[in-house]
């Protein structure tokens, strides 16, 4: 048993310390300087501050290591190890002769993580790992991650701590008055994610005072049974004076209101001092003396709702919720092609479409024989989480894919799936447990899918037992009783629903079912699907896996939620269907031509007209005789100043819709898609402004070029590797900042050093033709239209 465990066993309230920065500034530290340097230059100051907190009654003090990471200490003259070792040593010195414990204190790295920022999850992990190893070696009793605002960052931090030390971990995040962190993480998402990662206690620190933090603590207490930590500021700051607005006594008094919420670990953040900790003792000690629980109504362990989440969205499974099934290559030529071509935008488009159609969770399956599933899964999960807040269901049974996906997922996902086979139970469940995911258990085993409900129920029981044994909570186990095909096994269709009902009623587990297989081989499949779906929901189905773009299926779920009183006041139903008209074509649109649609920005019309045209016209002639001339007309209008950029790219967007229809048609008929040449585009290393590059991409694709988009913040070498791999003749580089122009220069130099036979076109707001020439680019493009002209010149088409 660790010293921390003993402390938590011995005392109900555990006292942390108060502010360090405030104390240092009172002793003359200039703002803007690195406070951790004092660990080495002025150890006496730190020891004296720590002692003041120990004297005030802190059970745990935080070493002065908050910002001691590789990134923040860069260039300061000391290594992370030196600063942390000194910091822990000072704290331990101050603790001599007392029972006070020392925490390695770790704050945010200071750089925003992907997808919004540029720091990779794996790099964040390495930065934390370095800190943890130093702290553990120096003799810290525990690790504290505090002031975190990014769920992804704290996940990297906790994994680094758990995998590189035996130290207990305490996590506190910082919430604003809108109950979110700066990066949009909700209170429930924090708790759901950290509950499963094996930490000792979770809570909140900084940002607000104890009064303002009460709603946050209240919410948090509903989502976790871990000890709650509260380390608020001394009220709200006054920027004009640099001070805070409440006294130590008021601060401590306010904690009385937090006691019934079950708080156990207390301390202060910005603006607090040893006095605040002493006052907390005076207020809280009497509770401990009285014996807390019966007197003050503190809640006993509660049941946490079954739920999964991304940082910004928590889906509680208290009524049927839709899992969208479309991110799956099975039986989809276009999707397979997108996977093979690494066309991540296609997959992202599928995600957004399903989200808009009403999906609550998205299933993600990228398994194909020809691709490296693990890398593709990691890339897809990260990319999906950059554009959708819907929680994901990772769909794979390959342990290494499962592990990689659960690791990089930001939030609490579902894993689909484990089954009753020994091998599956033994390999998959430990991974699920380690990452705190929810898991779907399929009711099949070594003998296949049992025919009877009884046998499937028994497999469900077995999966439940094994999952509970390993420590996965009951609310995170979902059972799939497996849909059979009615045309093949009509007599057994109801066995699925019987089993489902028993799993739900007798085991109290949530249930999942892929619905669409039921109708395979029958005409009018939609009718069978929606009827079966309704029957299944009535039997207790919680998570139908369906195509949310199918309005009958999504509608059935919404209607069911209304009729079972889950959709209170029919609010969701009315918001979706109010003003709903059955699909009637817009008569006025009938006479529109494709070129008119492109010119006027009419997307849906363009899709419809293109589909119509394909009945009578060859795809290539639609492209060459209608789309390209319409685009040329828009381009000419733009150059002459008749139309402006938004109109031009609006036309390009419509043309893209038409192309999508053509592409789908051509892939279906196995004819080669249009390709007038391959072009790589990238926003250079260090730069994250990619809207300009993306406009260029759309326009180039319009003109039939295949664009390999390397994204933003692209390493020099990545560009070179891609040029080699795809043997492209034209590379487009974009930079928006004066500070990233140098990356553009470096990229071009590396391309030249490798003697690659390709032309380079550059563009971006701060670029000039002269500078482009100076850094040895072949072309400078002032806008997207000019890039197309350059491509035409390079490829001679």
């Amino acid at each position: 048993m660790s010293a921390v465990d003993k402390l938590f066993d011995k005392k109900f309230f555990v006292y942390l310390d108060g502010a360090m920065g405030t104390m240092l500034q009172a002793r003359g530290l200039k703002t803007g300087e690195i406070p951790e340097l004092l660990n080495i230059t002025s150890p006496d100051i730190l020891i004296s501050i720590h002692r003041e907190y120990i004297d005030a009654g802190s059970d745990i003090i935080y070493a002065n290591t908050f910002g001691a990471n590789r990134y923040k200490l860069d260039g300061c003259g000391y290594s992370v190890d030196e600063i942390i070792t000194a910091g822990i040593k000072n704290a331990k010195k101050a603790c001599e002769g007392t029972d006070t414990l020392v925490a390695l204190d770790i704050g945010p790295i200071g750089q925003l993580l992907e997808p919004t920022g540029t720091l990779a999850f794996e790099d964040a992990y390495d930065i934390f790992k370095e800190q943890i190893i130093s702290g553990a070696k120096a003799g810290a009793d525990l690790v504290v991650f505090e002031t975190m605002t990014d769920l992804y960052e704290i996940k990297a931090a906790v994994l680094a701590a758990r995998e590189n030390s035996d130290l207990p971990v305490i996590c506190t995040m910082t919430f604003e008055d809108n109950m979110r962190t700066f990066t949009g993480c909700s209170v429930s998402a924090m708790a759901l994610t950290l509950n499963g990662l094996g930490v000792k206690a979770i809570g909140v620190n900084c940002s607000l005072g104890p009064k303002e933090l009460k709603p946050v603590v209240e919410e948090l207490s509903m989502w976790t049974n871990l000890p709650l930590v509260v380390k608020p500021n001394a009220g709200l700051p006054d920027p004009a004076t640099g001070g805070y607005n409440i006294t130590a006594q008021d601060f401590a008094e306010l904690f009385k209101e937090l006691v019934p919420l079950g708080i156990r670990v207390v301390g202060g953040c910005c603006g607090t001092s040893p006095e605040f900790i002493a006052r907390l003792h005076r207020i809280l000690d009497p509770y401990e003396a009285e014996g807390l629980l019966p007197v003050h109504g503190i809640k006993e362990n509660k049941v946490i709702p079954a739920a999964v989440c991304s940082p910004g969205k928590t889906v509680i499974i208290d009524s049927p919720k839709i899992i969208g099934e479309r991110i799956n290559p099975t039986g989809k030529k276009l999707f397979k092609q997108a996977l093979v071509n690494n066309d991540i935008d296609y997959i992202l488009g599928q995600a957004i479409e399903q989200a808009e159609a009403g999906a609550d969770i998205l299933d993600v399956n990228v398994g194909l024989p020809d691709i490296y599933e693990r890398a593709m899964m990691v890339r897809t999960v990260k990319a999906l989480q950059s554009v959708t807040e819907l929680p994901l269901q990772i769909d794979s049974t390959v342990p290494e894919v499962v592990e990689a996906a659960l690791r990089v997922y930001n939030g609490k996902p579902i894993l689909n799936s484990v089954n009753g086979e020994e091998n599956s139970l033994n390999t998959i469940l430990p991974i699920v447990k380690k990452y705190g995911a929810a898991v779907v258990g399929l009711t099949l085993d070594e003998d296949g899918i049992p025919k009877t409900a009884q046998k499937r129920f028994e497999i469900a029981q077995k999966i439940l037992k094994r999952a509970l044994d390993i420590g996965i909570p009951r609310e995170d186990i979902y059972i799939d009783c497996l849909t059979l095909t009615a045309s093949a096994e009509q007599e057994n269709v109801m066995q699925t629903l019987y089993a489902l009902k028993r799993v739900k009623d007798e085991l109290g587990l949530k249930t999942v079912l892929g619905v669409s297989n039921i109708s395979f081989g029958l005409p009018n499949r939609g009718l069978i699907n929606s009827t079966f779906l309704t029957m299944a929901m009535h039997s207790g189905l919680d998570l139908p896996i369906i195509n949310p773009n199918n309005s009958a299926m999504t509608g059935a779920v919404r209607a069911f939620r209304l009729l079972t009183n889950a959709d209170k006041n029919s609010a969701e139903y009315i918001s979706v269907y109010n003003g709903f008209k059955a699909d009637t074509p817009d008569r006025s649109a009938e006479n529109i031509t494709l070129d008119y649609a492109i010119e006027h920005g009419l997307k849906s019309e363009a899709r419809r007209i293109t589909s119509e045209l394909l009945k009578t016209t060859e795809p290539m002639s639609i492209i060459n005789d209608i789309i390209i001339p319409a685009l040329d007309k828009a381009g000419a209008g733009f150059e002459s100043g008749k139309i402006f950029l938004p109109q031009l790219i609006l036309s390009a967007g419509v043309a893209q819709e038409a192309f999508d229809v053509l592409k789908a048609h051509m892939v279906k008929s196995d004819s080669a898609p249009v390709n007038r040449g391959e072009i790589i585009v990238a926003t250079v290393k260090g730069d994250v402004h990619d809207i300009g590059k993306n406009i260029v991409k759309v326009l180039l694709e319009n003109y039939g070029y295949t664009v390999i988009d390397l994204g933003k913040d692209v390493d020099y070498q990545t560009v070179v590797d891609a040029v080699k791999e795809h043997n492209v003749k034209l590379v487009g580089l974009s930079a928006l900042m004066t500070t990233t122009l140098v990356s553009m220069k470096e990229t071009i130099e590396l391309i030249h050093q490798n003697e690659l036979d390709c032309k380079i076109v550059v563009g971006g707001a701060v670029l000039t033709p002269e500078y482009a020439k100076k850094i040895k680019a072949d072309y400078y493009a002032k806008d997207a239209k000019e890039t197309v002209d350059i491509a035409k010149a390079v490829f001679g088409n």
């Binding site: 703002t31 803007g32 750089q111 925003l112 920027p239 402006f644 938004p646 500070t739």
Partner: protein, 225 residues
């Protein structure tokens, strides 16, 4: 915190490159929709600190900090001032996320959302500045002067944010390439004086981007000048 009820669409259209002509109905619709979506997701925040300043020959020092403001432009900007406000504001990360989503589904909307967000952060700065003036009254304030403008180096940004404790207070960070994230953010130094201040802006003359500026090419000016 600051509540925006609407975004200056004329300004946004200027950023989008729409000239003086009336945009088409469909573009107007896109802009209206993006405005509503942006207003729904943004969470504008600002923070500031007040400092006394020390003017020396080669720089202006903010007392009790490690910040040294260098260059002629900021010296002119703070001429006659006895103190300075360091200021930072952001629309928050949700604006970036919205723009990113739009780039997948509809690039025109992405352009509109991006321009609207740029207009919105300027409005937020203006409102914040009014609040600061009220909090510090009676005092005279110069206009906002930002790192990267004129010869005030952009490399000041990390120290600037660290002095303001901007990551902790408003979630604002800066990358190694000195790009602020969330991207719709502004930092600035505002001069303080007991005496009336000539609020004349220095305009394009001191701007580093004057040679490539798309606004200048159109005979227009950006918001910074």
């Amino acid at each position: 915190m600051i509540q925006l009820d609407s975004i200056n669409k004329e300004e946004a259209m200027r950023y989008m490159g729409i000239g003086n002509t009336e945009p088409s109905e469909i573009i107007n619709k896109i802009i209206d929709k993006c405005e509503a979506e942006l207003l729904d997701v943004i969470h504008p925040l600002y923070t500031y600190s007040v400092f006394d300043i020390n003017v020396s020959d080669d720089c202006i020092e903010l007392k009790n900090t490690s910040v040294k403001l260098t260059g002629n432009a900021v010296k002119n900007h703070l001429r006659g001032c006895s103190g300075a406000v360091l200021f930072a504001a952001t629309l928050g990360i949700e604006a970036d996320k919205l723009i990113k989503r739009k780039q997948i589904t509809d690039i025109t909307s992405a352009l509109a959302a991006d321009a609207l967000a740029s207009a919105a952060i300027e409005q937020v700065c203006n409102m914040a500045e009014e609040n600061i003036a009220a909090a510090l009254a009676p005092v005279n304030m110069t206009w906002r002067f930002s790192p990267g403008y004129g010869d005030l180096p952009l490399s000041l940004q990390p120290t600037f944010l660290s002095v303001l404790n901007a990551q902790k207070r408003i979630g604002l960070t800066v990358t190694d390439s000195l790009i602020m994230l969330p991207s719709k953010s502004v930092t600035a130094v505002i001069g303080l004086s007991d005496k009336p201040i000539d609020k004349q802006r220095q305009g394009c003359a001191v701007c580093n981007l004057r040679d490539t500026c798309q606004f200048r090419k159109r005979g227009d000016r950006c918001v910074g000048c």
